[in-house]
């Protein structure tokens, strides 16, 4: 089975995958990369209104072949001045 590496960047920390994972084919690596995102999002408690988690899949040779991005965009819909949480 071919080996794929899954590097993760959430804007705060970049983790280069040195171990890799055997996947039966590219499609499985793709599915796996996408499946990892919600798992990681559970951790990410963004302070700001924008947050992105990026998974980049590399082949065994090191060549990047796939990327999946999960983004959280948060914004107030009123002027945001009333009923603000006390700091």
């Amino acid at each position: 089975m071919p080996l794929f590496y899954f590097d993760i960047d959430d804007g705060e920390r970049f983790t280069r995958d040195e171990q890799g994972l055997d996947c039966p084919h590219r499609e499985a690596a793709r599915d796996y990369a996408i499946g990892v995102l919600p798992d990681l999002a559970r951790e990410a408690m963004p302070d700001g209104d924008r947050h992105k988690i990026v998974v980049t899949v590399r082949e065994e040779s090191g060549r990047p072949v796939f990327r999946a991005v999960l983004s959280i965009d948060a914004e107030w819909l009123d002027d945001g001045r009333q009923d603000r949480r006390p700091d």
């Binding site: 920390r13 983790t15 171990q19 796996y32 499946g35 951790e43």
Partner: protein
């Protein structure tokens, strides 16, 4: 190397020399099992009660889709299936992680132990209750702790459990659990485990060289994990002349 069963059960009852001699005699006949072998499978009806004397084993369940959940680890001194001869058949499987030294104690011997040795009976009961507590704590971790604290908590727990049976030093132990195993234990993807391990490393909370795990400042890791050892019900350092030596050889 001192008998891990005795070291462990001393936390559960005030054992006498006679109790210790009895425990020594039931663990005299051992069997070696290779790594990654099933000791017993779901549905089996064991006639013996198995005990891990050396090595790591784990309890797991397989789901119909082939997914695996590891529900607990067995370290030296832990019984595999203490009460299965009451329950009838195994509702989960147990596999070895490393090469293990196993003892098989006939069910009748356990019956005799519990009938004639009240302190041993108490200690076995204690061991079962502590295992429940460990499972409960894992459930808390999976449900409520973020991955980094959940993993840190697990590493703190293993440190204390291994120290209790003289298989860890103050700051390090042999950690044969792979990232895949950890994922199946903590309910995380392997990639997430890899990232979380790296975070703990980057933050200086752990170092991992091969299978040698070092926790340079155990109190710091415990604080980070929010680890309270109460659920392990260990009575460390209360006994005089406790032969719990440092037998872990780092770099071995």
């Amino acid at each position: 190397m001192s008998n891990p069963l005795i070291l462990k059960l001393q936390h559960g009852a005030d054992l006498t020399d006679e109790d210790r001699a009895m425990l020594e005699s039931i663990t005299a006949r051992t069997r070696e099992v290779g790594p990654r072998e099933d000791l017993i499978r779901e549905g089996d009806k064991p006639e013996h009660v198995r005990l891990v004397l050396e090595g790591f084993a784990f309890r797991y369940k397989m789901l119909p889709d082939g997914q695996r959940q590891i529900t607990g680890y067995l370290v030296p001194g832990d019984f595999c299936d203490l009460h299965v001869w009451i329950l009838g058949e195994m509702d989960h499987s147990i596999g070895t992680l490393t090469r293990c030294t196993i003892v098989e104690v006939p069910g009748e011997t356990i019956n005799e132990l519990t009938a004639r040795y009240p302190r041993i009976a108490r200690a076995l009961w204690w061991a079962t209750l502590v295992e429940d507590a460990v499972t409960r704590e894992a459930l808390v971790g999976m449900g409520q702790r973020p991955a980094d604290r959940q993993l840190a908590h697990f590493l703190c727990e293993l440190l204390l459990r291994l120290q209790a049976v003289g298989r860890a030093s103050e700051t390090s132990y042999e950690f044969p659990v792979t990232q895949e195993d950890l994922g199946d234990t903590l309910g995380l993807s392997t990639v997430h485990v890899n990232r979380t391990l790296q975070k703990l490393r980057d933050d200086g909370l752990i170092t991992l060289r091969g299978k040698a795990l070092t926790i340079p400042d155990p109190d710091a890791l415990k604080r980070f994990a929010g680890f309270n050892p109460n659920y392990l019900h260990l009575r460390r350092g209360e006994k005089k002349g406790d032969p719990r030596g440092n037998v872990f050889r780092s770099g071995a």
